[in-house]
């Protein structure tokens, strides 16, 4: 029995974790828990050593096996039990349950690896605030299979971010033994990124406690990351009823388990502690059982699709290129709001981003602009972490095509944080990316993936155009509490904003957060409504006269800025007059924005209307100019479609 073993505070803390988790298993068997439970029985001292030795101002990101970390860091036993029992009094109102906890500076999420860049962003925010707080992100050895972990290791090392990655190696990825899954050495992975590494285990508690403390101090004092490998063993199944490990092996580890050794060595004291803990837990459980469930009204608030009437005004000719206006906006924002951070690949000057939006930003605001490695997942994840920790990050994805690499961060993290943590946090990240073809960039640099970016719950999707000064739209996006995706278009960057001219059509914009542009025939009732957005709006607006001449239908063009969720007021007003609706998108139409708009309009509108969709053909976009033009929607295909009505 070593000295640490004499520190009964640690024993009690670990025993509490074990008893709470065993209680969960009992409650699970009685059908009183929702979902499943991943216990850390056998691994408790890792939680005690790391989570227990942090300061209140520090933070933790954890994973699916997070109860121990939670209890050691927050001491919130009631909140945890109530959460797993699905009660309103739970730490997240019962919404998140076992894998999704949030209390003060503690966060957990059930996606493997996804929390690592988020934690890095959170830590980066602390570094920018210069508040001397550090953070720990817990992963398991199974998570070493996720690429975003390495993207993040690279960045935290390069940017000297005060974050410790604690890898709890229990030798199994769910049920698969490490020998089948893991090549090479674990700590060498971190060493390759020039990250200082530590090694501990949960059987030598003395060493574990000291080593944890030392590594925490290193991160705090040096302001550099650490990778801390903790060898441990899970004595229970991965989750429930999924244990195929060799029984003898498990027995071996049960004998090695520090709590078991303590129980044998000093049964009277152990019993005493156990009884106290048990009665505390039992009291809590019987109290919590009577608590109410969260009401739907408290969890979900409906957003209305129809807003009030707007005021209209003429569009303003800025005589400036869109890229200049974007650059001006970010210059002003980085100056006026010091919480603003700009991240992206190649965004540093003199290059200033692939499309020059960030020209001179890094020279003007060196501490707020970050040029990232080619790591879209980590770049968006870090932005999520920054947003969770009070910053306003603008993440640039160089080409819209690459946003697929960040989908996990958008869908499983940014969009969910607010709700799964029951409204405790917001994640006001802004992700910008240029979409669109017509530049001959070919299949992987010309796509319009808008349809994958609409309909993401609680994410606002915007598309800027050449009619409205983008700073108006970004100014509103800056104030959003929700995650925002802004779709820009590479062909629009060089165009001058507000330069639209027509003798027979007038272009007006609504006076609201995300203005709608309406190009309407002068003193004439339109006979067909065209809805578009982004760069399509540009070529359609120039074709309005041709459309009328060729089709005998007088078009009214409605250009949306907010493409999710959509405010249908103007579309409904227009189709009331025309009863004909065409929606144009640059991606292919199946399952796209056109389908969404037409379905919604049909639900909201009382009259039968004729509808058509126009989009790209369902093939990759070819580089050949003539072929690219035929694949993308164009004026010929639009007129042909209208004539078919």
């Amino acid at each position: 029995m070593n000295l640490i073993m004499m520190n009964h505070k640690l024993i009690k803390e670990a025993l509490l974790i074990r008893r709470v988790e065993e209680t969960f298993l009992e409650l699970f068997s009685k059908g009183k828990l929702n979902g499943t439970v991943h216990t850390c029985v056998g691994q408790e001292f890792s939680a005690v050593a790391f989570a227990g030795q942090l300061k209140k101002s520090d933070f933790i990101f954890s994973n699916h096996r997070c109860h121990g970390h939670y209890l050691s860091f927050t001491k919130d036993i009631h909140g945890l039990i109530a959460e797993l029992m699905g009660k309103k009094t739970g730490t997240c109102g019962g919404v998140g349950s076992s894998q999704h906890l949030c209390f003060e500076n503690f966060y957990s999420n059930g996606i493997q690896g996804g929390i690592v860049p988020v934690a890095a962003g959170y830590a980066l925010s602390n570094k920018l605030k210069n508040n001397n707080a550090i953070g720990i992100v817990f992963i398991g050895d199974g998570t070493l299979g996720e690429g975003v972990v390495y993207e993040t290791m690279n960045i935290i090392s390069k940017w000297e971010i005060p974050l410790m990655i604690v890898c709890e190696n229990n030798s199994y990825a769910q049920s698969t033994p490490q020998s089948l899954n893991l090549a090479g050495d674990i700590t060498k992975r971190a060493e390759a990124f020039n990250i200082k590494t530590f090694k501990s285990n949960t059987w030598d508690i003395d060493h574990l406690m000291n080593n944890a403390k030392e590594s925490i101090e290193y991160v705090r004092e040096q302001g550099k990351p650490v990778f801390h490998l903790v060898e441990t063993y899970r004595l229970n199944a991965h989750s429930k009823g999924d244990d195929d490990r060799d029984k003898d092996e498990v027995e071996e580890y049960k004998k090695k388990d520090v709590l078991n050794i303590f129980a044998k060595a000093d049964p009277a004291i152990y019993e005493n502690y156990l009884n106290k803990i048990n009665s505390k837990i039992n009291d809590l459980v019987s109290n919590i059982e009577n608590d109410a469930d969260l009401d739907l009204k408290e969890y979900f608030k409906e957003e209305y699709k129809i807003e009030n009437k707007y005021e209209w005004k003429s569009i303003t000719n800025t005589n400036k290129r869109q890229v200049e206006l974007l650059n001006t906006f970010f210059n002003k924002k980085l100056e006026s709001d010091k919480q603003t951070v700009f991240l992206g690949e190649d965004v540093k000057s003199p290059y200033g981003g692939a499309f020059k939006v960030s020209k001179n930003l890094s020279t003007n605001f060196p501490s707020q602009v970050f040029s990232t490695p080619i790591s879209e997942g980590a770049l968006v994840g870090i932005s999520n972490g920054l947003a969770l920790n009070g910053m306003k990050p603008y993440a640039e994805i160089m080409f819209g095509d690459f946003i697929t690499l960040a989908f996990d961060q958008i869908i499983n993290h940014a969009s969910k944080f607010h709700h799964i943590y029951n409204g405790k946090v917001t994640c006001p990240v802004v992700i910008r990316t240029p979409m669109g073809g017509r530049r001959g960039y070919g299949p992987t640099h010309s796509q319009t993936l808008d349809k994958f970016l609409i309909g993401i719950d609680n994410v606002v999707t915007l598309a800027i155009n050449t009619f409205i000064d983008p700073s108006i739209i970004y100014e509103s996006a800056h104030k959003e509490n929700k995650p925002v995706i802004v779709i820009e278009n590479k062909v629009d960057y060089g165009k001058k904003v507000g330069a639209y001219q027509s003798t027979n059509f007038s272009a007006i914009m609504s006076n609201c957060n995300y203005p709608i542009v309406k190009i309407t025939p002068i003193k004439t009732t339109p006979s067909i409504t065209i809805v578009s957005y982004g760069s399509s709006a540009d070529w359609v607006s120039e074709s309005l006269e041709a459309i009328f001449r060729e089709t005998d239908l007088i078009p009214e063009l409605i250009i949306l800025t907010k493409i999710h969720p959509i405010d249908y007021t103007e579309v409904l007003n227009s189709i009331k007059k025309t009863r004909k609706l065409i929606v144009i998108e640059e991606g292919s139409i199946s399952g796209g924005i056109g389908s969404e708009i037409i379905a919604s309009v049909n639900e909201l509108n009382e009259y039968p209307i004729i509808t058509r969709r126009l989009g790209a053909l369902e093939v990759p976009i070819p580089s050949v100019k003539s072929l690219e033009n035929s694949v993308l929607p164009n004026i010929e295909s639009l007129i042909k479609l209208i004539k078919s009505i």
Binding site: G494, K495, K496, T503, N504, P521, I522, T524, F548, R549
Partner: protein
């Protein structure tokens, strides 16, 4: 003179289709030297300067502030100075834009608006020899507007003709008589559908051989008239062809959910349409009875308002005359009317005419209705020719199959002695 050098707008960034001229260093006609900067163009990334790689006289095809497209000719350099306007200078279309100009442009925008015509409108204008200038007060002229214009023109003409006639019809040999008020109502009533000019009539010939021989035994009052059977069959067919049991109003189609056939009666006391409510629920016998009752009420002038309103389809019967065929007029709140003419004794054939509102349906639909009606009516004649019909009788009530004018037929059964027998529908369900 061939230029020494032609300079086009370069493509500097793949994303810029237009560059802005921000600096013109010389004046057109100036002599420049190799290596001198001659123009500055702004891209979305930077300002590009172009140097001359030859000596010569420079001529610009652009002005400061102009947005010039990539690959557009902007400068030519010649060996010697040109005579003025000798050069085919491309017309500068792009306007120089500054803030004030923008304001003025917005002001002018509305004033400069011109009339644009759709291709369909133009071809209609041409075929009708209209002048395009008559549409000068409009911004958009589509086919509909031209048609409206044509419609108005026609109407004006008609009114003029009427005016001429009224002016000139002071015939001495006429006696002026006021039209009766009932006639005025009738005119108003019939104008509703006919006025749009979109009614049409289809005719069909029915073979009436043996028709009355097979029908008369079941009719008490209107023996020798095809009316009861026609009312019976039409009322049933209207369930299927419900567009003919409807009316058109203000671009909406109102389809009745009951069938009330109106019978136009005119027995020297003015035309009246009296209805049989829920016609489709009655047998031929009952219809015969109803028709007889209505005729008596008409003659007694005791038809109520209820009898005279609410018919959903009208049948007008001129079978009692020697009329061969006629065009009935569709009544208000109806979409169709069926006219019955006299049965030609020589050929044993009868013409049915059906007028309908073309705004509701079209000829094909009505043709299908009439064909089916013909088939049904001719099946009455058909029965007589089937000699075995007279042998088949209901084993319960002894009704003969030929007497089953509802055409429901009998059901073949096997009686307790194992013999093949028949049973009529009435006995089956009673």
């Amino acid at each position: 003179m061939k230029p020494l050098k032609q300079i086009y707008v370069p493509q500097d960034s793949v994303n810029d289709t237009k560059l802005t001229v921000v600096g013109i260093i010389f004046k057109s006609g100036d002599f420049i030297k190799k290596g001198q900067t001659i123009i500055e163009l702004e891209t979305s990334k930077a300002v590009l300067t172009i140097e001359s790689d030859t000596d010569g006289y420079i001529y610009y095809h652009c002005v400061i502030g102009q947005d010039v497209e990539v690959n557009k000719l902007i400068i030519e350099i010649f060996e010697s100075q040109l005579q003025s306007n000798n050069l085919a200078v491309e017309k500068i279309i792009d306007k120089v834009i500054d803030e004030k100009v923008i304001e003025i442009m917005i002001e002018n925008e509305k004033q400069n608006a011109s009339t644009i015509f759709s291709h369909e409108a133009i071809s209609l204008i041409k075929t009708n020899n209209l002048k395009e200038t008559i549409f000068n007060d409009l911004y958009f002229v589509d086919k509909k507007i031209v048609e409206e214009k044509l419609g108005i023109t026609e109407k004006v003409k008609k009114i003029e003709i009427v005016k001429e006639l009224t002016n000139s019809t002071k015939f001495d040999n006429t006696e002026i008589k006021k039209v009766s008020s009932s006639k005025v109502v009738e005119i108003e009533y019939l104008s509703e559908v006919q006025a749009c000019g979109l009614t049409s009539t289809l005719d069909i010939q029915i073979n009436m051989v043996n028709f009355f021989e097979s029908v008369n035994p079941h009719i008490k009052f209107l023996k020798g008239s095809p009316l009861p059977v026609i009312v019976f069959e039409v009322s049933r067919l209207l369930k299927k062809y419900n567009l003919l049991n409807s009316y058109f109003d203000n671009n909406h189609l109102h389809i009745y959910n009951e069938i009330n056939i109106g019978i136009a009666i005119d027995i020297n006391q003015g035309l009246k349409v009296a209805k049989i409510k829920n016609t489709d629920t009655f047998s031929v016998k009952e219809i015969d009875n109803k028709l007889y009752t209505l005729a008596n009420l008409y003659l007694d002038k005791t038809l109520t308002k209820e009898d005279l309103t609410g018919s959903t389809f009208t049948i007008t019967d001129l079978s009692g005359t020697t009329i061969y065929s006629f065009r009935p007029l569709v009544n208000k709140f109806n979409s169709a009317i069926l006219g019955i003419s006299n049965v030609d004794k020589a050929t044993n054939k009868m013409i049915l005419n059906m007028s309908f509102d073309h705004r509701v349906t079209e000829g094909k639909y009505v043709a299908e209705f009439l064909s089916e009606l013909k088939e049904r009516l001719e099946s009455y004649s058909f029965q007589k020719n089937q000699s075995y019909n007279s042998k088949i009788q209901c084993s319960k009530c002894s009704k003969k199959l030929k007497d089953d004018i509802n055409e429901l037929g009998f059901i073949k059964i096997i009686n307790k002695y194992g013999e093949d027998k028949y049973i009529c529908e009435t006995c089956l369900f009673s």
